[in-house]
């Protein structure tokens, strides 16, 4: 303002020019002002205190919101949004094991004779099934195991056993039959809290493979309670694949017995499994295999991969 401009004896001074290096050192530590990194220690202190308070308030607000919500609205053992209420839906997907090492691939590929070649797949399955083997040894888990069958459903809080011991040849000791070029692929149905399958009664869907239809009809006449299953069928995708896949054996049943459902997040729950034993697949060619789960409340769409799992097999 006027006053300081009126100074009579003001001398025009140009700012002294400093080399870039000196400027940098001044930035690190300025002798004149005592500033470190452009600020005096006092200023740094104030800034740290201010930001500490600000972030503390922000974080505690976030924490309070989170805690309030999780405590009041979330049950740690029961999902808040179930089945169709949430996004998981009421139609479980199907999964297979062993999974390939390459995350994007679904190709099971090995040389039929070399142990090194199928060792990876065997290890994958051993790891996957270890849970099923050690169930009795873990404390607590073993106690609520119930030996279920179609006649005796598990009481609340108890779970059904999945006994994989007797699934010859799909057992660890037999290398899951990989070495005989007739590998076992394990199928499992995705767990959805509270989901109950609706079993087919009476008519069966048109697109169900004929042999499965025959199998179901056969069971219904011999042991009707066995018909309460989520059925599984595997087949080649193209006519050529259908030819190359050869006969298929489902162990222990061609489906997941109904007494395993619903899943209620009970301690030690084990998903039921179906071992698909490809008895004589053609070697030296890629076989596209599609396995499908069957229940009247399992939707199916090949395009969206719903109710179906796809993988390729190649044995050299």
């Amino acid at each position: 303002m006027p006053s300081h401009r009126m100074e009579e004896f003001e001398i025009d001074r140009k700012p002294t020019r400093k080399p870039a290096k000196q400027k940098f050192y001044d930035f690190l530590y300025n002798d004149e002002t005592g500033a470190i990194l452009g600020r005096t220690p006092e200023s740094w202190g104030k800034i740290l205190i201010f930001y500490a308070i600000f972030y503390a308030v922000l974080i505690s607000l976030f924490a309070i919101c989170m805690a309030t919500f999780l405590q009041h609205f979330i049950n740690p053992r029961v999902p808040r949004l179930q089945q169709d209420g949430g996004l998981i839906g009421a139609s479980p997907g199907l999964g297979f094991r062993p999974l390939p090492a390459d995350v994007r691939s679904t190709l099971i590929w090995y040389k039929g004779t070399g142990y090194d070649s199928y060792k990876y797949w065997e290890d994958q399955l051993i790891e996957f099934l270890s849970e099923y083997k050690k169930k009795g040894q873990t404390a607590g888990a073993g106690q609520n195991i119930h030996n279920c069958n179609f006649g005796s459903l598990p009481p609340p809080g108890k779970i059904c056993d999945v006994d994989i011991q007797g699934w010859k040849p799909c057992i660890e000791e037999d290398h899951f039959s990989f070495h005989k070029s007739s590998p076992c692929i394990f199928l499992k149905l995705n767990r959805i809290y509270g989901w109950r399958p609706q079993f087919y009664e009476g008519g069966l869907p048109q697109d169900m493979p004929k042999d499965l239809q025959a199998h179901i009809q056969n069971l219904r006449t011999t042991n009707s309670s066995y018909a309460n299953m989520v059925w599984v069928s595997c087949q080649g995708e193209t006519p050529a694949d259908k030819e190359n896949i050869g006969p298929i054996q489902y162990i222990p049943h061609q489906g997941f017995p109904g007494y395993y459902y619903p899943y209620n997040n009970a301690e030690g729950y084990l998903s039921p499994l179906v071992a698909v034993h490809l008895v004589r697949p053609r070697t030296g060619i890629i076989i596209n295999i599609e396995c499908r789960a069957w229940a009247s409340n399992i939707a199916y769409s090949r395009k969206d991969r719903v109710g179906v799992v796809h993988f390729e097999l190649m044995i050299e």
Binding site: M1, R5, Y51, V57, R77, I88, G95, R104, R305
Partner: protein
Amino acid sequence: MNSKSSSLSSISDLFRPTNPRGLRSRDLSSTRLSVLKQEIQTDTHLIPLKNLYTLLGTDPINGLTNNRAKELLEYYGPNTLTPTTQFLWPRLLFKSLCTGFSIVIWLGAILCLTAYLIELSTKPDPRPDNLYLGCVLIAVDLICGLFSFFQNYKSSQILKTFNSMIPMYAKCTRDGVLTTDTEVHNLVKGDIVYVEIGDVIPADIRIIESKGFKVDNSSLTGECIAVSRSNTDGTPNILESPNVAFSSALCVEGWAKGLQPTVTASLTLTAKRMVAKQCLIKNLEAIEALGACTTICSDKTGTLTENKMCVRHIWMPDKTYSVLDDDFDSSLQNNQAFISLKVCGALCSNASVSSSGVMRGDASEKAILNFLINFDDPIAIRKMYPKVAEIPFNSVNKYQVSVHLDTSTSKFLVVIKGAPECIVSRCLSIIVNNEITDMSTEIKEAANVAIENLANTGERILAFADCVLDPEEFPLDYKFDTENVNFPLDNLRFLGLIGLKDPPREEVRFAIQRVREAGVRVMMVTGDHPATARAVASEVGIATTPDCHVVTGTDLRNMTPDLLYLTLEKHYEIVFARTSPTQKLTIVEACQRQGGVVAVTGDGVNDAPALRRADIGISMGITGSQVSKQTADIILMDDNFATIVTGIEEGRKIFDNLKKSVCYILISNVPEIIPVLMFILFSIPLPLGVMTILCVDLGTDMWPAVSLSYEQAEQDVMARPPRTSDPLVSASMLRLAYGHLGLVEFAAGMFAYFIVMAEHGFYPSSLFGIRERWDNEAVSDVEDSLGQEWTYAERKELERACQAAYFVAVVITQMMNGVICKTRYNSLFHVGMKNNVLKMGLLVELMLACAVCYVPGVNTFFRTYPLRLRWWFLALPFAAFMFVFDEFRKYCIRRQNFGRWFNKLIYY
């Protein structure tokens, strides 16, 4: 025909290209500027006319031959001022579509489309994401580009209407034939042109012959009084030389053909249409620069003053009367001297009043006539006293005489008016107390004191005297000879003095007070007399102390740039008087050397260099010349200084509001960028997708960001010094945006994301590190916290829902943010929600967010999800926190708490 002149070129020579095409305004380079700073050096107005004819190869009767004219036109190019660069609209369109950041967007769009095409040719069912993204980017570019194109196009159209106001045809003799349809730009050196009343002088001309030819040179020199021009000897300074008239000066007086110049009419009409805005901004940067302006160099005439002469004081032997006094009328009742003065004033005048009441004539005569109309009817007086003879005013005599016949007494009356020093010495008698007495030395002394006092207040003083001729010596058939005066011009009766003045505009004083409070220095640059300049300066408040420093044009010419710089440093209040328009450039450069952002007003042709050199060139809508308007950044439609102040306030407001908009947009960057970091660093499923980011940036954020520019100015806008090195995006704004508010928004978004995940079974702890399996299409069973297994499609659906929740949280907090960013300084409770555009903007933002989430198809396009109602409220605690924090921040800033340390930290 009024005057016949030989077209020459002087100033325009400097602009005139050797190659007429391809030269643009940009070529007004620094070398040219230095040329312009010098006084024009030419002798075409000094050499005898005969020599000039030979020099130009022309003939005063027949003019140039058509062939010669053609040759000259070819050689020198058209008779126009260097035009501003004008683009055709396709080029303008192209320019607005492909500038700066939009090029980056174009590249992005091309990349997206290329990626899509590659995917299309390699994969059986390609994802349309890249196609969507590409289309969105192209749409964004087109919309932004078209918007700015229309803005530019509209303002260029407005300027075109100004261009069309200059005269298109001139009357010119070639091959001995007078034609009226020679286009002005075809005139060449040596053409003989005819100019009459109302014409705009088509070129810089030397006058060959004339009758009562006067030009309004205000657009060149800033003088508001029409000056006589005739074929006389020139003076060394060509601008003041009376035998030269310059292009675009307006011929205002001459043989009374009585035609109102259509040019002026259309100008007034356009001015009236623009009057609503008062201020035509030619480029947006100018008004923003105006907000940062530290110095205003203002013209006096027309800008600070009203550009019309008024009678302010009357002195009659005993005392000075002020016209503005309430008892002015009553104090002059029955005053003999005043009665005679009225008669004298009405008679000794060439100003005429048409039947519609419009006055025409010299500014001071109009002023006197205007004054007299309040008391008597001058027309009636003129009828009573028919004019017999007249000696017009000239600069040697400095008086004007006319002889009238008093029809009531059949005596002749000689009335005279002129410069006081000439008149007083010719007077012997005087009317004191209604009696005629001798002119004593005391009265002469008193008159001189009055003259000096009035002159010191910047008034132009005219003295009046009369003399009743003896009927015996001058019978009714007496022949008065005005060439060899045969009637007495001495022994007159002194009547009184009239002080005339161009009064300052009423609103200017307050306006100057306001800008000075805003830390802006106001300097006056005028061609007027130092005393007048000083008087006006102190009247309008440019000078607050009597020792205001006055620098005259002659001083300035002798100053070195360093000395001028020191003078500007030393004196805060400076008035430049008697300056030539070219010196304005020197003044502007000196101010800029001080580091100031300088606004300069100018209306003349010669102001163009100064207007261009200044940071903000301001031209006048009414009196401004074509060139000054073309060069200026801002045109004041009402020529009023107060409008500049509004402009400064507007400019600061715009800059403030721009800051608010930028801050608003910057804040939303944080919740857009950090999710990607979270995704990479903590391997959580991506909390915000690309399409939703675009949705925020280019959809929901757009309107509120723009609407912030409709905010009212804040309290402190005119109370702080001009920003000197205050960038649009300052460190404190970045701190506030990235370090504070942005993080709150991010927290809100993450909260919403975690909640939606948790409600579906993925508790926060389970999300970290899940990314690889989550995004793997081959994995059809990802386990959540409750042992449920999710297929790829189900997971992606959940991801969309979470991203939508995050998006909504950002939208909700951005809405609060829009409210917060309304003010930088004031409390929101104080300001309120008066900005309707913003209110609409917030509503639209909410509706857009709903549309993006719920409209089928749109939500698949943007990869969002129809959220449950309760998820909309997740961000509310954070929005409330933002509000509280920001109110606290503004409170601290207003109170300057913590020793202003806080202000420095986050007051942007």
